[in-house]
Symmetry: C2
Subunit: 234 residues, 2 copies
DNA sequence: TAGGAAGATGAACGGCGTTAACTATGGCAA
DNA sequence: TTGCCATAGTTAACGCCGTTCATCTTCCTA
């Protein structure tokens, strides 16, 4: 726990400058515009020097993806914290925060939540770790839905269906989020997340252009329909 | 309407061989593995020769994407035709066919339904044409949901919400599918398609690995939940 | 049968990731 | 203070890539 030496300070500074430049390229030219030579050029260095900091371009991209996951997780977590104490409002705030970040950062979204590049595949491999960024990202959603379930149960598919189709295949989720996640919570989470992801992903990738001129409005409608299942009806 | 000349026959044959080879590269190495030089090498040609057939690599990829859209549309249409006359069964068959094609052809899925490459962006631009492959792909879904709605209305979000959030922004959809699509059908289609897309996309891109070991089972459960809304309950 | 269009070629330009050999430098131990 | 060595950075090179240009061959047609 000693103060970092001068060498160490320089090293971490260069390291983050590399990633900053990589992100700039990502934003301006998409994932495949990230190149060691362009990064080095912009930094006044030569490309091979970067190999002192990353094993390969893929490793750099993987590290960048990790950072982005953390950034997105923070955005979502902050939105939840600012949303008051009503779990339904928390859920809406998190979903909106996720969409807004994604729409505002399409290239970053593409990198971590789109078609995985070679460098990203490895990133997804060991996600059974409970500290993996992906797991961390899902946690606030899971917790909120858990609160909702404990507060007043919402309708779910028949238990028999959930047992057969879901409970038998949840080892990875339990590894990250603990064994005590009720099957109903796991269902509501996965069902909701896939809807959220589908909608946002289609908007970010312009796969809704042919149908709708204001994806944000469609999102709000679907969000309304989703949280509606959690509010008991007369 | 005359018989194709020898030149023309050779040309179309070379053209489709190029695309065949491009797809082989796509499948074995992902979208960014498609390269003119590799295609030419495999065909016993040199790279510049391909410029007689396509303006650029991006144009080739765009053409390939068009073919793949048609292939996927055919798969879905065939599944519908083989599913009998019950619209709910038709819907399930189409959804399953979509998933199966996607899981079996992850690289192709990534190309046409994932993070758009530069060459794909142009492909998405003029999708207000009613013959655009994307519109064509959605048509059998839309038609089936339309039949369901006419047969016996299913529950929807409040009309006021649909009017405000959806009806005002449906010009593109109406351009492709006609003005007469009821708002309830548009809603059920978009809602269902985004769920289907989200789930399949996450499975294909391995974004469910951290949660579920058998995405197919989750898919079946969600499909069940989705079509359930179309079957009137006592 | 002459000529022009279409198909294909080789060379070249600038870009890329990556490796290898080499140089300069900062910080620590003797 | 001196000597050393790990660390950071360099240049040069290899083999990919898309693309352009000038050139050559082949086929079809007028």
């Amino acid at each position: 726990m000693s103060a970092p030496t001068r060498r160490e300070r320089l090293r971490t500074s260069t390291l983050s400058e590399i990633k900053k430049e990589a992100r700039r390229l990502l934003v301006t030219g998409g994932p495949e515009a990230i190149s060691l030579r362009a990064i080095a050029r912009e930094m006044g260095m030569t490309a091979p020097a970067i190999y002192r900091y990353f094993d390969s371009l893929d490793a750099l991209i993987e590290a960048l993806a990790g950072d982005l996951y953390v950034e997105l997780s923070d955005v979502v977590r902050t939105a939840k914290a600012d949303a008051g104490s009503d779990p339904v409002e928390q859920l809406k705030a998190m979903a909106r925060a996720f969409r807004e970040w994604s729409v505002a950062h399409p290239a970053e979204f593409a990198l971590i939540l789109g078609n995985p590049l070679p460098g990203i595949v490895a990133f997804q491999e060991n996600c059974d770790d409970e500290n993996h960024p992906g797991v961390e990202f899902g946690r606030p959603f899971m917790e909120t839905i858990n609160v909702l379930w404990l507060h007043h149960p919402y309708p779910t598919p028949p238990r028999s269906l959930m047992e057969e189709r879901l409970a038998a295949h949840l080892q990875p989720l339990h590894a990250g989020h603990g064994e005590k996640v009720p099957i109903e919570v796991a269902w509501a989470f996965l069902s909701g997340w896939s809807r959220l992801y589908g909608l946002v992903s289609m908007e970010v990738f312009h796969h809704l252009r042919w149908a709708v001129s204001d994806p944000g409005a469609l999102f709000e409608m679907e969000l309304h329909a989703y949280v509606d299942q959690f509010t008991p009806h007369a």
